[in-house]
C-alpha cells in the first residue's frame, strides 16, 4: 500500500476498529456473555460523562489537580534549576552528587506515600510535595546537561566583554540551556502528574484521582469508567501540549 494512503487510512482504521470493539463489547454485555456488573455497556459510559461532569464537579477537580501539578512544577523549577546550576559551577559537587540525583530520579518514591502522609497529613501539601519529589531530579540533571553543553564561544565572548556573573547567568547560560531545562521540566511534570493522580486515588483526597476512587467505592461502574476516560483524556492533552511546546522551543532556539 502506498505510504500516503497508509498515512490517511491507517489512523481512520485504528479509530474505527476501536469503535467496532466497543460495539462488540456492547453486544456481549447485552446478551449477558459479559457481566454488566463487571463491565458497564459502553453507551452507559458515554452517557455517564455528562452526569459526572455536572454532578461530580469534574471541572473543579481538574483545576485542583492542575493546580497541584502547577505548584509542584514551580517548586521543581525553584529548587531544581539552582541545584543544577550549583552542580555545574562546582566540579567537586558534580562528581560527588550527580549520581545521587540520578539514583533519586530512579527511586520508586511514590511507594513512600505513607511517609509523606505521616509528615504532611492527608492534605494537598502531601500531594504537592510528593509531586515535587518525583519530578525534581530530571530538571536538575537536564539543567546540568544544558549548562554543560553551552557553546564555549558564547561564554568566551561574555568574558571578553567583562560581563558580571549575574549577566553571564541571565544573558548567556540560562538562554543557552533553556531547551534542555524545558525537556527536564516536561519529564519532571510528567512524573509529577503521574504521582499526583496516583496518590489522589490512593489516599482518596483531591482532584481527578479521588473522583475515580470515590465512584468505584460507590459502585458507580459507568461513572468510574467515564472518570477513567476523562483522566486518560486530560493526561493525553497534557502530554501532547508539553511535547508541542518543547518542539516549538527547540525550533526557536
Amino acid at each position: 500500500m502506498p505510504r500516503a494512503e497508509v498515512r490517511l487510512l491507517a489512523p481512520a482504521c485504528g479509530v474505527l476498529s476501536l469503535i467496532a470493539a466497543a460495539a462488540a463489547l456492547q453486544a456481549l454485555i447485552v446478551t449477558d456473555v459479559v457481566s454488566r456488573y463487571v463491565v458497564p455497556p459502553p453507551t452507559d459510559v458515554v452517557m455517564a460523562i455528562a452526569r459526572i461532569v455536572r454532578e461530580e464537579h469534574v471541572v473543579a477537580r481538574f483545576l485542583l489537580t492542575s493546580g497541584e501539578t502547577f505548584g509542584s512544577g514551580l517548586l521543581i523549577l525553584a529548587v531544581g534549576v539552582p541545584i543544577g546550576f550549583w552542580l555545574h559551577r562546582s566540579a567537586l559537587a558534580r562528581r560527588a552528587f550527580e549520581a545521587w540525583v540520578a539514583a533519586w530520579a530512579a527511586a520508586p518514591l511514590v511507594l513512600a506515600y505513607p511517609l509523606f502522609l505521616v509528615l504532611f497529613g492527608r492534605s494537598s501539601l502531601t500531594i504537592v510535595v510528593l509531586g515535587f519529589a518525583a519530578g525534581v531530579a530530571p530538571v536538575v540533571l537536564k539543567t546540568l546537561e544544558g549548562l554543560t553543553a553551552t557553546r564555549r564561544v558564547l561564554v568566551d565572548v561574555g568574558r571578553s566583554l567583562q560581563i558580571t556573573r549575574g549577566q553571564m547567568f541571565r544573558k548567556i547560560l540560562i538562554p543557552a540551556a533553556l531547551p534542555e531545562i524545558f525537556t527536564g521540566l516536561r519529564l519532571g511534570l510528567t512524573f509529577s502528574l503521574i504521582n499526583i493522580v496516583g496518590v489522589e486515588f490512593l489516599i482518596n483526597f483531591g482532584g481527578l484521582g479521588q473522583l475515580i476512587n470515590e465512584l468505584a467505592e460507590r459502585y458507580d461502574l459507568a461513572g468510574t469508567y467515564a472518570a477513567i476516560g476523562f483522566v486518560l483524556l486530560a493526561s493525553m492533552v497534557f502530554f501532547a501540549c508539553m511535547e508541542h511546546v518543547e518542539r516549538w522551543l527547540r525550533r526557536t532556539h
Partner: protein, 247 residues
C-alpha cells in the same frame, strides 16, 4: 580521577550523608513534631532488625515476588508481541502506536478499580496491575527496536520466503535484543511499583500490605524500616537487570 581527588569526593559524600542523618536525629529528638512521626535512627535500625528476622516478612515477600514474576512474564510477553507487530507493520503502527504512546505515561493505578472488579481482591488483580504497567515500556521499546532493523536483513529473509514466525525469531528478536532489554529494564521498575501500590490499596498479603498495616497501627519505625527495604529491593532488582543487560 586522581586518588587525592577521589578521596575528597568520597569525603564530600560521607559528610553529606552524615549531615542528613544528623539532621534526622536532631529532628527526632527535638520534639518539634508529633512523637514517632520522625522516629530516632536507633529505633528505625531496631525495627529493621525485627522485620528482617520475622518470618511474616519473608512470607509476604514471597507473595509480592510471585505477583511480580507472573506480571513480568505476561506483561513482557504481550509487550514483545505487540511491539513486534507495531514495529514490523507500517499500517499497524500508523493505526495504533499513537494510542499506545498516549496511554503509556498515564498513571496505571487508576485502572485498579476495574482490575479489582475483573479479577477480585486477591493476587490476580495485583498481577494484572503489574502486567499493564510492564506492557507499555516493553511494547514501545521493541517497536522502536524493530524499526531500527537494517532493511537489507528483512529483504534477504523475504527473498528466502521466510514465514512470519521465522522473521520474528531469526531476524527481529535477535536484532531488537538491546531495545528489548532496555524496555524490560523500564518494565521491571514500573511493574514493581504497580504491584506494590496495588497491594497498599487493597490486599491481605504482600510487602505493600505490610507497609499499610504498619501505617494503620501507627508503627512508624516499622513503616520506615519496610519502606527502606522496599526501596533497596526495587533498587537491587534494577541494578541486577542493568548488570544482566550490560553483560
Amino acid at each position: 580521577m586522581a586518588p587525592a581527588y577521589a578521596l575528597t569526593v568520597r569525603r564530600s559524600r560521607l559528610a553529606a550523608a552524615l549531615l542528613i542523618l544528623t539532621a534526622w536525629q536532631a529532628l527526632a529528638s527535638s520534639g518539634l513534631l508529633f512523637r514517632d512521626v520522625v522516629p530516632s535512627l536507633w529505633r528505625i535500625a531496631a525495627a529493621l532488625a525485627t522485620t528482617l528476622t520475622a518470618p511474616a516478612f519473608y512470607a509476604n515477600l514471597r507473595v509480592t515476588a510471585f505477583e511480580f514474576a507472573v506480571a513480568i512474564a505476561i506483561g513482557s510477553m504481550a509487550g514483545v508481541l505487540v511491539g513486534l507487530a507495531l514495529g514490523a507493520s507500517h499500517f499497524l503502527s500508523r493505526a495504533y502506536e499513537r494510542w499506545v504512546h498516549y496511554l503509556a505515561p498515564v498513571p496505571k493505578i487508576i485502572f485498579f478499580p476495574v482490575l479489582l472488579l475483573a479479577f477480585g481482591a486477591g493476587l490476580e488483580s495485583k498481577i494484572a496491575m503489574g502486567t499493564i504497567s510492564c506492557f507499555f515500556p516493553v511494547a514501545i521499546s521493541v517497536a522502536a527496536g524493530v524499526r531500527g532493523v537494517p532493511p537489507v536483513l528483512i529483504r534477504v529473509d523475504r527473498s528466502f520466503r521466510a514465514t512470519p514466525w521465522q522473521m520474528a525469531t531469526k531476524i527481529y528478536l535477535p536484532a531488537v535484543r538491546a531495545a528489548l532489554l532496555n524496555g524490560l529494564h523500564l518494565g521491571f521498575g514500573v511493574a514493581a511499583i504497580g504491584v506494590l501500590l496495588a497491594e497498599t490499596k487493597l490486599s491481605k498479603a504482600g510487602i505493600g500490605f505490610l507497609v499499610m498495616d504498619a501505617y494503620h497501627r501507627f508503627d512508624m519505625p516499622g513503616m520506615y524500616a519496610l519502606l527502606l527495604l522496599v526501596v533497596f529491593l526495587v533498587a537491587g532488582v534494577n541494578m541486577a537487570v542493568t548488570r544482566i543487560s550490560r553483560s
